[in-house]
Subunit: 206 residues, 2 copies
């Protein structure tokens, strides 16, 4: 099975199933019906069955899914079975906050270094993270075989930094700069634009 056969939206739902399974594990539940799992994940049962069918026959009719087996299958698919190294580009207010945010590590991602035009010592000491100058980026990415980058630089330099990341071999970028990045087809970009999320909500309030 090629990974790319699964639609991108389905991959988001795999994360929801994975979290729901983690809660079940915490509650010592060993098997779960597709109905119960879909409810726990907030996804329609038909959708869940369709999504999990990409992995072949996982459940047993009448018994449901093994929580531990399904957890393992999804963990491997999502690439969180090992701690993934991630580099952070841009260690300003937002970047620093992302370092302090504990959610990433918990889910299997480790920010291994920050890179910034202004890589001063004080900042690094406060964050407990090495903050390196931009010209150390290429050697670091190649030596540590980093594939994932978080981009938290000003919009004015976002594309230029992206080009550099791509040429260093980065395969996926979580982009916080409010702009559409141009990347080759083989590179994935997910955009998080906090202002757009608020604007979207604002539209619906009365």
């Amino acid at each position: 099975m090629s990974k790319l056969e699964i639609p991108r939206k389905a991959v988001y739902r795999l994360s929801l199933y994975y979290r729901a399974l983690q809660r079940l594990t915490a509650n010592a539940i060993e098997t779960v019906s597709s109905a119960a799992l879909s409810k726990a994940a907030g996804v329609k049962p038909t959708q869940l069955r369709k999504d999990l069918a990409y992995f072949g026959q996982l459940g047993t009719r009448g018994l449901g899914y093994s929580v531990s087996h399904l957890t393992q299958t999804l963990r491997e698919a999502l690439g969180t079975a090992r701690l993934q190294p991630v580099v952070l580009i841009g260690v300003g207010h937002l970047g620093s906050a992302l370092v302090r945010y504990r959610g990433f590590q918990k889910e299997g991602f480790e920010i291994v270094a920050g890179f910034d035009e202004d890589a001063d010592r004080t900042r690094a000491d406060n964050l407990g993270l090495p903050v390196l100058p931009m010209d150390a980026l290429r050697a670091f990415i190649q030596e540590r075989q980093v594939k994932l980058a978080i981009l938290a630089v000003p919009v004015t330099v976002a594309q230029e930094v992206t080009n550099e990341l791509v040429s260093c071999g980065i395969q996926a970028i979580l982009n916080f700069a409010p702009t559409i990045l141009q990347v080759p087809d083989a590179v994935m970009v997910n955009n998080v634009d906090l202002a757009i999320e608020l604007e979207n909500l604002s539209y619906f309030i009365r």
Copy 2:
């Protein structure tokens, strides 16, 4: 035209058009063709024409759109014509970062107060934002007629705090807690789950 006739995804694209128009304004461009605007926004031309058709006849055939008129139309639709007050619930690492993040204010949103179980003085002084105890929430929201909340509390209390927000009259929530919030139909929730975004990218790297 009822606001809710526009699909939610189209509203996201309105934000993209709005930003593209701001860039055109900054470059003193007065009119723009739908082809040029769609390219600047990173959206297909047919999609752009369909989205803008919700607002009636806005462009002139052969001339395109007036940048200032279209900007104004979208600003009013998106509710960013006036500065929108927003409350922040949970002033931990992530919440503090969101206060320091300058992107919201620029786009028409003002975080007017933070609320936290531990509303100590030091934290408030550092942030330049009043941080109030949770029991001050109801009076504040009602007095300032706040409709939008950003939720950055631990997942364990997210639903409880949401219930409180809804009962205070909050109409839309930008949720950073990695859980699916149960809310009445009239309340909108947008979820930002940073770990899920990384997981999604992780799936696609080799």
